[in-house]
Subunit: 455 residues, 2 copies
């Protein structure tokens, strides 16, 4: 029986048990961005550490950070001559709003048509859990891992990795590895595997505009007071020109054009027609004139992730609000410096806010983009394993998403990096009804287990 | 003892009892715009009807409407040769958001420094209650009213008077009157009385922009999907030109310029310096080049009362929302037709929405502005009474606010109209910590009681 057959058999025998454990993992409301869920995050970390300790034969610990703890596990028995792989993932999840659009409780995993519906089903609990399950399989099948393996599973990926980024410099030795496997990415499509050789950086900030000391009656004050909602619309409308390019001074200065090598290496992974249909999109944004996969993976963006001001409840309230606010993020590409972009954005907002409207900018945060090499041992092993599991050639792609901490980890650890995983754009991650086809969970398990063996 | 002295004495004797009853009235959460409070509104109406029946010697009833009931009371004993005054007010209140800015429970009236803090303390429970108290005083002092008096107190003024507007045509006989006293207005300043001879009309609507079938991850989709928040900002930013004029085609077509007579009649009631200081306003909106009292009372406006899209909770969520929405209202001036303005607004929004963004407009509603004559018997009586009570000449003003139903009532009943009341712009009506100085409650009581006598 080949390794792959043995792994399939093990999975088949343990399927119901794995699903039960996966569901337990999903039930923790580990929403890192909202401090109300702090206890859930901490309990989730301890559950995962204990699971790895019990089932994977690894030494584990919870590494404290200024934020939520890291779940750490290691199996170094392959010895100093074998390569060391650091597996990165996260146990935190996105908020669940708008909750009314979920068809089942986001924290009570529900299986429908072979798909598991829950917040975190894919991102990233599902993905990290198939990696853990793969190590468990090797352990329970009585085989020693051919590589040294470390797990570093953080609890704040969805809120800019505050804890890990602060703890990272002191963890340089502990996390030392030849390559970083970031198990938080996806496939090319339902049947075609891919490795992800880059992700975008991210700058986030909150913008608050104030027009008066308090909310005002729009009759008694309408025509005199400058409405902060109007100021917000006028200010943010100035961000883009007619070609969808961001007009912020210096925004594109450090963006590198795609090289010929990159054009050969990467497969366009957005088909406009099916994309429009899948997501119900009639309006295309981004920079006009560029292929969609380039707009998504190789160009920076400016997005208004949230915007609010005044009365937004049921019915109507004729108010001129005191404040309007927006949550803004920019995705960055390699060679862009987050601090520089954040400064440029802040300058632009301050210069363009209507006169007399008070502006406050807070919670500014940023991380660089990252790129990995297609020629690293880990990249080659992941490609081989995924082709073996899925029966098709492995594509190489760049993600439009961001894992803020990865660029720093690669730099500090001086490690290669590969993004792997089983996600698809149709999984509704970060959205209502996030779901993961359990078949892809199995493929992720098999690919991860075979990658370790092939290294 | 003069009539005024007798009224002052009666008020002084009944002060604590009146305050207790006023507080009971304020405790009802009669938020008409939110169906969750339907039972509170109905209970509030019955409480008020019963109070008038018990204390004012009036025949009362709850008149059903397609919305909340009207509290109706009448005393027609003055006979057919005496004038009939219809007193309009409302027992519903605005929502209380943002609740966290209230210093005390909005529905548990609290007295601090002689001021009563509660939602509705002024608008309009406080004002209608001093009118009821004035009728009660005449009744308990054993005097027959020199005029026929009707109360019509509705429960949906804050949500465009849906019920009353539908019931009105069938109530033409019942509400028949020579003049309408709208007890929902204010004074010129702390020490100077005013009558209000007009209010603005109102068009309200909700706007929803949709970019995709569901919320999207701003990494995986950023650069491709057109963000509805961006579309909302771009669309609404187009509403105004650089001079603060609304660019909607036809918006000002039917606006009448102020006549010389109006310029003589009305006293400017906005002092820029004190206005800026009072409300903490650095940015002035409205149409550049016009005096502030003209912008507020004699010109139409377009306001974004609420705007929301995407994640607006704590922390951050990197989402491209499926929808963005806005609640919009326009204040209208005499001679503007609400249907015509609503159509112009809707046309503008549909024409200017970014291509491919789906637009939905709902809950469109509108009412005309109204104007009353300074020469009517009621206007003269209110002026005289208020001068007697406050010791200063009564100013004539136009309100920037709207009481949507008044124009229809004047037309259908063919009645004169005067706006009266004790409100001030600093009372925080429609805002957190709405409050009413109890001294002004007394002045309102005295003015209303004397007005009846002087007619």
């Amino acid at each position: 029986m080949s390794s792959l057959e043995a792994l399939k058999k093990w999975f088949s025998t343990h399927k119901e048990e794995l699903k039960r454990d996966y569901f337990s993992f999903l039930r923790f409301k580990s929403i890192s961005t909202d401090p109300d869920y702090a206890n859930e995050s901490k309990a989730c970390a301890e559950w995962l550490r204990s699971y790895i300790a019990k089932h994977c034969g690894m030494k584990t610990e919870l590494i404290p950070t200024p934020g939520y703890p890291l779940v750490y596990g290691e199996d170094m028995r392959a010895g100093i001559d074998a390569p060391t792989i650091l597996v990165y993932g996260h146990y935190d999840v996105q908020p669940v709003d708008p909750i009314e659009l979920w068809h089942s409780d986001p924290f009570e995993p529900t299986e429908r048509n072979g798909k598991i519906y829950a917040r975190g089903a894919v991102d990233d609990k599902g993905q990290i859990f198939f990696a853990v399950a793969a190590v468990r399989a090797w352990h329970e099948m009585g085989k020693q891992l051919p590589v040294n393996l470390k797990f570093c599973i953080e609890g704040e990926e969805e809120s800019t990795s505050v804890g890990l980024s602060k703890a990272l410099p002191s963890l340089k030795e502990k996390l030392k590895a030849d390559a970083l496997a970031v198990v938080d990415f996806g496939q090319f499509d339902e049947t075609t595997p891919a490795i992800t050789l880059g992700g975008r950086g991210l700058v986030t900030l909150e913008l608050i505009l104030t027009g008066s000391n308090g909310d005002l009656h729009s009759g008694s004050h309408g025509g005199i007071a400058y409405n902060p909602n109007r100021a917000m619309a006028e200010l943010l409308a100035k961000v883009w020109d007619d070609d969808g390019r961001v007009r912020i001074h210096g925004f594109y200065d450090d963006v590198l054009e795609m090289t010929e090598k990159e054009k050969d290496l990467f497969t366009p992974n957005v088909d406009e027609k099916s994309y429009r249909k899948e997501f119900g999109i009639d309006a295309i944004g981004g920079e006009k004139g560029l292929p969609l996969f380039v707009r998504k993976g190789f160009r920076p963006t400016f997005e208004i992730n949230g915007m609010s001001g005044g009365y937004t409840g049921k019915g109507f309230k004729t108010v001129i609000p005191a404040h309007a606010s927006a949550k803004i993020s920019c995705r960055l590409v390699p060679n862009q410096n987050p601090q520089k972009i954040a400064s440029a954005v802040i300058d632009f907002l301050k210069k363009n806010v209507p006169s007399g409207i008070r502006i406050e900018i807070k919670n500014v945060s940023g991380e660089e983009a990252f790129r990995g090499s297609a020629d690293s041992d880990l990249a080659k092993a992941v490609c081989l394993a995924s082709t073996e599991v899925m029966g098709k050639e492995c594509k190489r792609v760049v993600s439009g998403g961001s894992i803020p901490i990865i660029a720093s980890m690669c730099k500090i650890l001086n490690a290669e990096v590969v993004g792997m995983g089983q996600g698809l754009a149709t999984d509704d991650i970060h959205a209502p009804n996030e779901h993961f086809d359990f078949k892809r969970f199995e493929n992720g398990f098999l690919t991860f287990a075979r990658t370790i063996e092939l290294l």
